[in-house]
């Protein structure tokens, strides 16, 4: 490869050649900011939601309870009472107002009908009809009155019952406070679980290539296993096919592409996400 007269220079030349390449590598590493922040990092992802996450209403319910165990539960418990009473009172008021309006209308109609009856004595048939109408209207008004009375009585009963319940609550607030807190928490948790389920579905839906699912409205069901990190623990199982293999695959790919899936920060809720059954309607 090398001529004899070139051998003496070969080592020096080899060193220089290596030096050139090291210099190039150094230039590459220094001149380019390889770890520069990518523009992708600055883009904020926004998810749009119809309903506000149900996280916010739950804390007050939970927070009201802790004061109850304090030495004076009787003083602090009353606040719920007026709320209940007001609700109870408000409903009948609205109804009675509506009833009054109805009754006034009906009275007017009655008067008119009576006048008409006096004036137009000749038209018996008309009279009869109107009398029948009158009778019907009067019967209706009576029935309405009866209903109102019943409702008011029932409402009063409910109010009394709730009052009793509240008194009982006050009596053994310490014992029941915890249970209530638990039940309230469970209700809140159910809200959070539903919210995150719909979040997961929305995220997957965003990745589905809808063009593959045709014009109809196919429905598929997938069963997926999740890890606490939001990643899939195994490949998603197709429980119910849409009948279109391409559509099924598109949804499966979307599920895989959606990793990591959103999970609530509360680790205790994860057990409900370990195995999820999700329903998809890509064209919905």
């Amino acid at each position: 490869m090398l001529r004899t007269y070139e051998k003496e220079i070969s080592w020096k030349a080899g060193g220089l050649a290596l030096g050139v390449h090291v210099a190039l590598l150094a230039a590459l590493l220094i001149s380019f900011n390889w770890k520069a922040a990518h523009p992708m990092m600055n883009v904020t992802e926004v998810e749009l939601w119809d309903s506000i996450p149900s996280n916010s209403p739950s804390p007050p319910v939970v927070k009201i309870e802790p004061p109850q165990p304090s030495p004076e539960p009787v003083v602090k418990a009353p606040p719920p009472e007026p709320v209940v009473k007001e609700e109870v009172k408000e409903i009948p008021k609205e109804e009675s107002k509506a009833d009054i309006a109805l009754e006034k209308k009906k009275e007017l109609e009655q008067k008119k009908a009576e006048e008409k009856a006096v004036k137009l004595a000749e038209k018996l048939a008309a009279d009869k009809l109107k009398k029948e109408q009158l009778a019907a209207l009067q019967a209706e008004t009576r029935q309405d009155d009866m209903r109102d009375a019943d409702k008011q009585a029932k409402d009063k009963k409910v109010a009394k019952e709730s009052n009793d319940a509240l008194k009982k609550l006050q009596q053994d607030a310490l014992a029941e406070g915890d249970q209530q807190a638990l039940s309230a928490k469970a209700a809140a948790n159910a809200g959070v679980v539903d919210e995150f389920k719909s979040k997961i579905q929305a995220k997957i839906r965003g990745n589905v290539n809808k063009a593959l699912c045709g014009d109809g409205n196919p429905e598929l069901r997938f069963e997926i296993g999740l890890l606490p990190t939001g990643e899939l623990s195994n490949s998603p199982k197709l429980v119910k096919s849409s009948g279109n293999a391409a559509c099924d695959e598109a949804v499966e790919r979307a599920i895989i592409a959606s990793e990591p899936l959103p999970l609530p920060s509360d680790a205790s809720l994860f057990s409900q996400f370990r195995n999820l059954k999700l329903k998809f309607k890509p064209n919905d």
Binding site: I9, K12, A17, V20, H21, L29, K35, G206, A257
Partner: protein, 230 residues
């Protein structure tokens, strides 16, 4: 997908993440580039030495000393004479031998003597030109082929990264960008190998051309001198 975006794009991770054919292309290109630079430095040194040798010899030759002394001086040197000196040595040796033969045989044919010396010089000239031209074809082929090798690696890498896109519903730039970046590294290295090789080839070729013209004119002039002496 956010994981790929979060990856740092250092040149090492780019190369490590490339597919096997792209890595092979990168390896070939780096080796080629190393060799071409090695030959470039060797050639730079040897051609420079050939030029200074020619300069020195012409100076010694045209100062008008005795040709026999010059010849003895060349033969006494430890090194085998190179370049113009080797042409002179071959021509003069052949001339002296012919002259002795002619003298011994008693015949005197100038054209025969001159023809022999000319052939010897021609042979020495060819050997010298072969040495000067050494490695230039390698540089020429590196200059013309390595961009294509790099392009091959790039096309392969981009093909791969686009194939990965087909399985995703929402194509984002962050899914293709790393693949394209690592593919483009191949083109960059191909160009890095090719550009110096082409420049060096052109430079060396023109220098060798000038040297060969110089050698040829020296041969003509030396033939004239020998003819006068015979």
């Amino acid at each position: 997908m956010t994981a790929t975006v979060a990856n740092d794009m250092s040149i090492f991770s780019l190369v490590a993440g490339a597919s096997l054919p792209v890595q092979a292309v990168l390896l070939v290109l780096i080796i080629t580039s190393l060799f071409s630079w090695w030959y470039i430095f060797i050639k730079l040194a040897t051609i420079k030495r050939a030029e200074t040798n020619a300069e020195d010899f012409e100076k010694a030759f045209w100062t008008g000393g005795d040709l026999n002394k010059l010849y003895d001086g060349l033969g006494a040197g430890r090194r085998k004479p190179q370049g113009m000196a080797s042409i002179f040595e071959a021509g003069f040796k052949e001339f002296v031998r012919h002259k002795q033969q002619v003298r011994a045989e008693g015949k005197m044919d100038v054209s025969d003597v001159m023809e022999g010396a000319r052939r010897a010089m021609r042979a020495a000239y060819n050997r010298e030109m072969d040495d000067l031209d050494a490695h230039l074809p390698f540089l020429a082929s590196v200059g013309s082929v390595s961009p294509y090798i790099g392009l091959f690696g790039t096309v392969w890498g981009i093909m791969n990264s686009f194939r990965g896109l087909s399985s995703v519903a929402q194509a984002t730039l962050s899914q293709v960008a790393p693949g394209i970046a690592e593919a483009l590294v191949a083109t960059a290295i191909g160009l890095f190998a090719a550009i110096p090789a082409v420049i060096a080839y052109n430079r060396f070729a023109s220098t060798v051309d000038r040297l060969s013209v110089r050698y040829e004119s020296f041969m003509e002039e030396f033939t004239n001198i020998l003819q006068r002496k015979s």
